[in-house]
Amino acid sequence: MANQPAKKPSRAPRKTSRAPRKKAKASPDEILQYFKDMLMIRRFEEKAGQLYGMGLIGGFCHLYIGQEAVIVGMKAAAEPQDTVITSYRDHGHMLAYGMDPKGVMAELTGRSGGYSKGKGGSMHMFSKEAGFYGGHGIVGAQVPLGAGLAFAHKYKGDNGVSCAYFGDGAVNQGQVYEAFNMASLWKLPVIFVIENNRYGMGTSIERASATTELAGRGSAHGIPGIQVDGMDVVAVKEAGLKANAHCRTGKGPMILEMKTYRYRGHSMSDPAKYRSKEEVQKVRAESDPIDFVKAMLLELGQLDEAKLKEIDKEVKAIVAEAARFAQESPEPELSELYTDILAEA
């Protein structure tokens, strides 16, 4: 497959490409499920922002709002034996991969009921059952680690594919290219998913990257790349299926550049001086991934306003339950300070 991005990407996702499709390559039931999954992430993140505001979540808290279609679409293309690894903006990935919202929220509040017993925090959660390997705080580190998961899939011969997510900020890290080289050299089954939300913290991609065609970043290592409208969950799933087929048939890694957008700040205290309100507002109004699917469902007759309200209520109830659990779950026992440092031989 050739390196795709022939066209220069426009600054904002093109509205023309985002009109609801007549023939979506997903069944109405599937699309309804994507809608629910994306809504769950959004409501969860809004609630996390609220709990942060109440002082119940400390330190860093990186919200995924605006980028939901990326992980939901990619999960829809994955197989049960696959693995996933990402950066610190990880809540959406965990929810999409089936981790319990209660356990995730309780980790955000630093309670014993959290996935890491309160010892990891927002950026550091893991679940072997879900195939989720973190939750990493050093920008770009998850890329060689993700190639390592793929190495293990290949070594074990389990036909699994590893998916390593990183942003347009991480894409300039040196270790990313070391991982690209070895993944391609050794034909590792890894999908490198670049979530290009246009800003690495407060620095726009144009101000950080000599070239902004990120799908082509693997060309020096012979890794094919596709640019994808990351605000369109069906387009993401289709690209995901393509990449999975490529990796699962021994052809080595593939890059998917997801053109997406983060509505909220980098973390919680973000002065938002590096982009205009109008820019954020425009994306929200014209390219929102959830509104996009909602329109599709209304058109398909899968959804009416009443059903919509019902779904929203269901999702909110799950999130409220997670928030309740995250506040009622006790803080870890003081003895936990000295556990989990070394594994027992």
């Binding site: 809004e46 922002g49 609220q50 709990l51 942060y52 505001g53 109440m54 002082g55 119940l56 630093g110 996935y115 890491s116 309160g118 010892k119 990891g120 550091h124 959660m125 893991f126 072997k128 390997y133 973190g134 939750g135 990493h136 705080g137 050093i138 580190a141 060689p144 680690l145 993700g146 190639a147 390592g148 998961l149 190495f151 293990a152 070594y155 074990k156 270790q175 070391e178 991982a179 080289n181 070895m182 509505y263 919680m268 205290s269 973000d270 002065p271 929200r284 409220a320 928030a323 309740r324 506040q327 803080e331 003081l334 000295y338 556990t339 989990d340 440092i341 070394l342 594994a343 031989a345």
Partner: protein, 452 residues
């Protein structure tokens, strides 16, 4: 029930702020994500977005108000079918639990409790004469025969047969799947090794020398050593990082450094440093079988030295146990790696002068066998520490601290450190000799603590 909108904390340090502007007025309808107000925090001016939907029933704090406390109500949101009359019954969106209060800290502890370590198993079987190089190769090969999940990766480990011939013959026996030549990209292949270990494989990552591991140290510490803790025990990282450490000969400053104290500093890591071929074999096998990240510091100048090694596939040494190489009564000398040999030579010289030195081969730098060291000092009342590394914050500094904390009343003299000189390693032969510990430096230090 109406929902109270509370003054949010918008940064980890914010306790109060100023409402600079309301963007919604009373009576306006609000959807999730709508900007309600602008708030000036201790760091910046930021927007507050709505979480719940409804109509703004009442604004409780006018714009321009300063010093509004975090978590105090600033407005009331009415849900469908509610009107202003129900404002008095407002509820907060979720039960406001007070932010967790800092728990009473337990008594300060300097170090995590160390589990009791089993003693070195008695061995009275046949011995074989082996070089350190052969012992290391044998340890890896035996463990790879024993466990399919163990593999070796690094620069020149395969076709070249190992930059220092440690992995000689292993590619032929185990094939390319398990003996993997990597490009010269330390952070990349170390990250790949750690990722593979998350999934239960047991990689041996060979660094041609530990000088090059500086490129990879982020993965060794942040990705390997901390993950078990950060995951609340869910993800272990069984991996060995090995290669030569310390000064070689005439290779200049960038290729001559001891990293022992760097890695020994890290919780979640085990750090071993063998001296003899038996140490090399027994400790490397233990490292490979251990479910934790283990840093294994070898010394290039010892690779060709021969020692007696137990001839058994099951000769595995306990991690965390030092070995008394030479018993003595007058002074304790602790050392690791090549410096054990220097200490033993010094002890022989001292014996001729009537000083009976006990020499302890530390073997394990983390966990450290403090019990053996302290017990020895209770007998000799004097301690000299020998290492190739620099003095500042080095292993010798740790020895001195342990003596202060655990053997203060037993000391008859201050602890003395013999270290590499506090300079980058020079190239010139005479200066290089001057920069490293040697037998004379050790005997002088011993005489000083013995007041001789």
């Amino acid at each position: 029930m109406p929902i109270e909108i509370l003054m949010p904390a918008l940064s980890p340090t914010m306790t109060e702020g100023k409402i600079t502007k309301w963007l919604k007025n009373e009576g306006d309808s609000v959807e999730s994500g709508d900007v309600l107000a602008e708030i000036e925090t201790d760091k910046a001016t930021m927007e507050v977005e709505a979480v719940d939907e409804g109509t703004v029933g009442k604004i409780l704090v006018a714009e321009g108000t300063d010093n509004v406390q975090v978590n105090s109500p600033i407005a009331v949101l009415l849900e469908d079918g509610e009107d202003a009359s129900s404002i008095g019954t407002a509820s907060t969106p979720a039960p406001v639990a007070a932010a967790p209060v800092a728990a009473t800290a337990p008594a300060p502890v300097q170090q995590a409790p160390v589990a009791t370590v089993e003693a070195e198993p008695d061995y009275d079987g046949p011995m074989v004469r082996q070089t350190v190089r052969e012992a290391l190769g044998a340890a890896m090969s035996e463990e790879m025969r024993r466990d399919e999940d163990v593999f070796l990766m690094g620069e020149e480990v395969g076709q070249y047969q190992g930059a220092y011939k440690i992995s000689q013959g292993m590619l032929d026996e185990f094939g390319e799947k398990r003996v993997i030549d990597t490009p010269i990209t330390e952070i990349g292949f170390t990250g790949i090794g750690v990722g593979a270990a998350y999934m239960g494989l047991k990689p041996i990552v060979e660094f041609m020398t530990f000088n090059f591991a500086m490129q990879a140290v982020d993965h060794m510490i942040n990705s390997a050593a901390k993950t078990l803790y950060m995951s609340g025990g869910a993800i272990a990282c069984p991996i060995v990082f090995r290669g030569c450490n310390g000064a070689a000969a005439r290779v200049g400053a960038q290729h001559s450094q001891c990293y022992a104290s760097w890695y020994a500093h890290i919780p979640g890591m085990k750090v071993l440093s063998p001296w003899s071929a038996a140490d090399a074999k027994g400790l490397l096998k233990a490292a490979i079988r251990d479910p934790n990240p283990v840093v294994f510091l070898e010394n290039e100048l010892l690779y060709g030295d021969s020692f007696d090694v137990p001839e058994s596939d099951e000769f595995v040494l306990p991690i965390g146990k030092a070995k008394i190489e030479r018993p003595g009564n007058d002074v304790t000398i602790v050392a690791y790696s090549k410096m054990v040999g220097v200490a033993l030579d010094a002890a022989e010289k001292l014996a001729a002068e009537g000083i009976d030195a006990e020499v302890i081969n530390l073997r394990s730098l983390r966990p450290l066998d403090t019990a053996t060291i302290v017990t020895s000092v209770m007998k000799t009342n004097r301690l000299v520490s020998v290492e190739e590394g620099w003095p500042v914050a080095g292993m010798g500094a740790e020895m001195a601290a342990i003596m202060m904390e655990q053997a203060f009343d037993y000391l008859d003299a201050p602890v003395k450190r013999v270290c590499g000189e506090d300079v980058p390693m020079p190239y010139a032969a005479n200066l290089e000799l001057l920069a490293l510990p040697n037998t004379d430096k050790v005997t002088e230090a011993v005489k000083e603590v013995c007041y001789r």
